[in-house]
Amino acid sequence: MKFDTVIIGGGLAGMACGIRIAEAGRSCAIVSQGQSAIHFSSGSFDLLGRMPDGREVTDPIAGITELEQTSQEHPYAVMGAERCLKYAQRVPELLRTSGISVLGDCRKNHYRVTPMGRSKATWLTIDGYLTEQEPGKLPFEKVCIVNVEGFLDFYPEFIAEEFRKYGVACCFETINFPDLEHIRKNPSEMRSANVARVFDHEKNLDALADKIRKVVPECDAVIVPAIIGINRNDSLGLLKSKIDIPLYLLPTLPPSIPGIKAQQTLQQCFRALGGEYFLGDTVRSADLENGRVKQVYTVNHGNIPFEADHFVLATGSFFSEGLVATPDRIVEPVFGADTVYASSRTEWYTLRFFDKQNYQAFGVKTDSALHVVKEGSSIDNLYCAGAGLVGFHPVQEGCGAGISLLSALYVADQILNSK
């Protein structure tokens, strides 16, 4: 099989890169080992929420400019603030044309509300989700939090506890009807995807709307867990049209409906542009010739290799096995690329789970153009994008999605500018 570009990894970075390459008319294949971490999405995309020292960021680009001076290993610093700004400005359009409608500004963070009701700085949020311009500045005074009876992954009391701190009065409603009774026969799998399928039926949206209408006189807004619209695009619009107070979605614990939807939307967009998406396959080895990658071999395709002029390593971090920890080393399993990590294992982690963990900043060594480095030399047709890069803490800094998207666009541009 011969392509212009083969991308290894079908998460946010792989797909953003693939969409850019495919829309420029180049032939592109994505090989992905299973579904990606987008399935745990919050409904928002972060660019930079905090500096490495913990300070809050209000203007992510200003933060990135500072990183350029203070944290030279950070992927944003490697790409440079000017480039980051350029690519950050392109992202909303890329998501929108793919079918994911988002709002936000790379020069000013807004706040998303977590499944626990806390405010977190973020960059872009999918339409329909609850956001705030300042932490705790909620767009209502009395809100009704609706939940589905028996749904395991949404906690109205926790949310209310946070909201009350900001003087918002909360009331609760639970909803139940025969189709929900039906899926409750399997209590352990009463999870967002199964619940959302029920609400893709209009009669069930009607039942939900009826319930909400009953609480209208007492409340000025209503919150519903993100269980609306898994297979249909119009479910949220339909629901909103049936009620006359504002309705906001709040993310649930995984699997995340906005994540599933985003994954499917990006994948469909990539395919519609002529891209080939190979799901459930693992790249197991590569042929290198004269310092270039010639072709890669996968488990499924065996003796038929994927040949290409350009390759992108977007296999992610530890979760997706883009990085593998052995007792004493951090390994990149596809190319055996050079990796950056602390030499003593005791420095890899702390025993306090929620603390900053050093292993999260380990990754694949690259040069400033994000070429992968192997045995000290850059491979000039192999790039790394996304979570496998070195030098950042996606959770503490709130920058995982931004790094995936910006590095993907940077790599795509370099591929498109070459022959």
Binding site: E189, F278, L279, G280, N303
Partner: protein
């Protein structure tokens, strides 16, 4: 003693981090809450079963063995294999249902039916007969049976083709499967036509039995193993003694021989596995290597919608069939979203599964109807039956379409 060697599962179940992505993509869990879902039925349940076998849950029978959970898993856990292995290891040891025996023994039933095909086909289409089968055997009366051919593919081959095929200097072996033998010999003939046009003669294996997929899903494991051993012996003769590749026209037969034999029946096949492949992949490779090209005739433009069968999705090979279709002048190819059609071999024939089966397939049927396609193409025979029964479109193997447009 190497403790780790004895405690690490072959199916990678320790790698499960409970992310639940598999359950999102399980076609059964989406429509039937009696099924606990792949995470619960697979790695979660395995932990309990390892402790005490009586934690085995009979609801595992609702698993269709589509393997879509494995395709979705980010951690490489062989969830489907864990579930099927648990059924083999902990499930009922004897399968006493006459219905399951009849559905699983495709060779026996096919051999009995083909000589009397016109009568059998008419009979199973009659309402009273279907009603009786429903009541007596629990085969759903709404299910339309595939038609049997009047005479098998192998008997035709021996009489009319063997000699001419042997005359080709280059040869390939063909695992035709039950469907070509008893239901659709034309597909076998189409393959021969294509291979001949490429300069290859088509041989049959010394001895071929049903690949056993239906025996495995109906709990007849010992018989499945015996048939698999027969097939592997014939494949070994073809590959090792005669240096012939073995190709098949059914995605499920191919998948079963390559992956289910070692994973579920514990039969080693590494010495021949790479030489057994789907005919569309074999042809793709020949064409890409530049050794072979085909001449097509001018024909009416048609729009073909390709459906990816579950086992094809698991093998990851739909690309080859789609590319072959795209090579045919006048054929516009639409690729349907890869989703289960619901029949899963014999699963959808069973009365207790009929509703689940049709509910699972519903989104696919809708997409097919909306596609504006003249024809659906797929590499699996049972998907074909399901699509033809549940939509208004005819459905063919890509090779049949390919052959029909050869000059």
């Amino acid at each position: 003693m190497n403790i780790q060697q004895n405690t690490v599962s072959e199916n990678n179940f320790e790698q499960c981090i409970k992310c639940t992505i598999c359950t999102v993509y399980c076609p059964v869990a989406a429509v039937n809450p009696d099924y606990p879902g792949p995470k619960q039925a697979g790695p979660d349940g395995e932990r309990l079963r390892l402790k005490r076998p009586d934690f085995f849950d009979s609801a595992l029978k609702y698993c269709m063995n589509c393997k879509r959970c494995e395709v979705a898993c980010p951690s490489n856990v062989r969830i489907g294999d864990i579930i099927q292995s648990a059924r083999i290891k902990y499930g009922p040891k004897r399968n006493t249902s006459l219905r399951n025996y009849v559905l699983a023994n495709t060779d026996l039933v096919g051999s009995l039916a083909t000589p009397f095909a016109p009568i059998v086909n008419t009979a199973v289409a009659l309402k009273p007969v279907r009603f009786m089968m429903d009541k007596v055997m629990a085969i759903d009366h709404r299910r339309i049976f595939p038609k049997y051919a009047h005479g098998t593919f192998t008997s035709w081959y021996k009489k009319h083709a063997a000699e001419a095929q042997a005359a080709f200097p280059k040869q390939v072996s063909y695992f035709h499967g039950c469907y070509v033998n008893y239901n659709n010999p034309q597909l076998g003939k189409d393959l021969i036509r294509i291979m001949n046009a490429a300069g290859y003669g088509v041989r049959l294996l010394d001895k071929e039995k049903c690949c056993g997929v239906a025996l495995i899903s109906n709990g007849l494991y010992n018989q499945a193993k015996r048939q698999a051993e027969t097939n592997l012996a014939s494949i070994r003769t073809a590959v090792n003694e005669n240096d012939l590749d073995v190709i098949a026209t059914s995605s499920t037969c191919t998948f079963t021989i390559r992956d289910e034999y070692p994973h579920l029946l514990s039969l080693k096949n590494d010495d021949v596995r790479d030489r057994v492949e789907l005919a569309t992949r074999y042809l793709y490779r020949l064409i890409q290597s530049g050794k072979v090209s085909f001449k097509f005739k001018e024909a009416e433009p048609i729009r073909v919608a390709y459906h990816t069968p579950c086992h094809m999705e698991k093998m990851g090979w739909s690309y080859y069939s789609i590319e072959l279709l795209r090579m045919i002048p006048g054929v516009e190819v639409i690729v349907l979203d890869s989703q289960c059609c619901g029949i899963a071999g014999t699963y959808g024939f069973k009365k207790e599964n009929y509703r689940t089966s049709q509910d699972v397939g519903e989104p696919l049927f809708r997409q097919i109807e909306a596609s504006g396609a003249d024809l659906v193409a797929t590499d699996c025979e049972t998907c074909k039956w399901q699509i033809e029964m549940s939509t208004t479109k005819p459905c063919e193997n890509p090779l049949t379409i390919f052959a029909s447009r050869l000059a």
